[in-house]
């Protein structure tokens, strides 16, 4: 094996590794962009991922329709084919209704916030190694998406765009500790900070902390964005499910269950522009 370390092959591998480390460092310091090779592979793979995600969603829809099926209908063998066709149509119909509702909700938000500019996107991939549910969408810089653009589902905050490629973008969710945003209790106006931890993410929740000990936050309250940083104000984050005190007893925190169902998201909207855009980054920079 020692001959390998003197060989030309070893020098080539070392050269490639050094180049890749240099690219990583450049991407890290520049920020907000996918590395060139990730951008190329992401762009190449995006249509295939989208197709497989479409197939997988179709399979889950049909499976859900079958599991909810009428037993009497299933017993009738002659009608099975017809039922299957009808179920497929029903799944398509439900999908169309859901999509219709989806766009209707956005129209409502758009009516309430005329300054918002949206870019609809579909989730095409998930990072299975990330316990915080980060994912990739099928829109990138070619569609006007920029790093740190907020991502919502209906009027509920999902996260923000971290890295942008030509036709794909990575999104970090509100369950992640990488996100830190100013938030308010909608009922009491108590302000705090929302950021995820592994412990909370395991239960599909995030943490609303730095709340003053005299605050009136209660279980069931809605938490919304305060408008500081990169997120517009008034976006729904979630509902308070429990309240606790920090380890030094100086402030309290609340567990917040996001309104957006992050595990089963299919379509999202990226807010590409809004009034007052350009505040602090969600990582505090």
């Amino acid at each position: 094996m020692r001959f390998f370390f003197r060989s030309r092959q070893f020098k080539v591998i070392l050269g490639i590794t050094v180049c890749l480390i240099a690219i990583s460092l450049i991407c890290f310091f520049v920020g907000g962009r996918l590395s060139p090779q990730s951008d190329i592979t992401g762009t190449l793979a995006a249509p295939f991922r989208a197709a497989f995600t479409y197939v997988s969603n179709g399979i889950s829809d049909i499976a859900a329709a079958l599991s909810d099926g009428n037993e009497a209908m299933i017993k009738n063998a002659d009608l099975e084919n017809e039922i299957s066709e009808l179920r497929e149509k029903l799944a398509d119909y439900e999908k169309a209704v859901a999509e219709n509702d989806f766009y209707k909700d956005y129209l409502e938000i758009k009516d309430n916030n005329p300054d918002y500019e949206f870019c609809p996107a579909t989730l095409i991939s998930r990072d299975k190694n990330d316990p915080y549910g980060s994912f990739v969408i099928n829109k990138g810089s070619a569609d006007g998406i920029k790093s740190h653009d907020p991502v919502i589902s209906e009027s509920e905050l999902v996260g923000y765009v971290t890295d942008v490629g030509l036709t794909t973008s990575k999104v970090v969710t509100i369950l992640s500790p990488d996100i830190t945003l100013g938030a308010l209790d909608n009922r009491t106006n108590d302000s705090g900070v929302v950021s995820g931890t592994l412990e909370f993410a395991e239960d599909g929740q995030t943490r609303f902390y730095n709340l003053s000990r005299s605050c009136n936050v209660a279980i069931g309250d809605y938490v919304v964005t305060s408008g500081e940083g990169i997120f517009p104000s008034g976006l729904l984050i979630g509902t308070v499910t429990s309240i606790g005190s920090d380890e030094y007893n100086t402030s309290i925190y609340a567990a917040v269950e996001p309104f957006a169902d992050i595990d089963s998201l299919r379509n999202v909207m990226v807010i590409t522009n809004f009034e007052g855009k350009g505040g602090l980054n969600p990582d505090g920079e």
Binding site: F4, I13, Q37, S38, R126, D127, L198
Partner: protein, 169 residues
């Protein structure tokens, strides 16, 4: 023994890698067991590198790593680099240190899975969050996922062992 060029095997290789990459990066089917989510490219690369040469290992590791980097949060070139180096490491170990059998392949698969997840933890979870969360990630996610990933070496080993036999005959 004279090795012949087999276009069918080359195509089969590409299809296997493409299928695993799509499986790994889409929501087609989730085979997670609680917090353990397998990284199928690790046992696949291990089995491929076990019967391959260094040039092919570098190419396979880099290309598959780049695909994973395109969906991983904050990864930049992490997967490209580590998968390439792990594939080269397996190739060298298989050719110089180990006999080519299923036991050696499983040991190497477990080793590279653990190395991959430990590096993932070191780079992305140790510094980014508090100690409790980072240790929690290591114990609850990284190590179970590494062990679960390593298990998948068996089917891939048998496929590539079969390919080797076809090449040699």
């Amino acid at each position: 023994m004279q090795k012949k060029h087999h276009p069918f095997l080359a195509l089969a290789n590409i299809l296997i890698f493409a299928a695993v990459i799509v499986f790994q990066t889409s929501e087609l089917c989730d085979i997670s067991i609680r917090t353990a989510s397998p990284m199928l490219l690790l046992p696949l690369l291990c089995s491929y590198a076990f019967f391959s040469d260094i040039k092919r290992c570098v190419a396979a590791g880099m290309i598959s790593g780049a695909f994973i980097d395109s969906i991983s949060q904050g990864a930049y070139c992490f997967n490209t680099i580590i998968l390439m180096l792990l594939a080269v490491g397996v190739c060298l170990a298989a050719n110089n240190l180990f006999n080519k059998n299923i036991f050696a392949a499983s040991v190497l698969s477990l080793m590279i899975s653990l190395i991959y997840y430990i590096f993932l933890w070191l780079f992305f979870y140790l510094s980014g969050s508090d100690m409790e969360s980072s240790v929690g990630y290591l114990l609850k996610y990284a190590i179970p996922s590494a062990v679960y990933s390593a298990v998948f070496v068996f089917p891939f080993y048998f496929i590539y062992n079969r390919f080797r036999k076809i090449k040699e005959h």
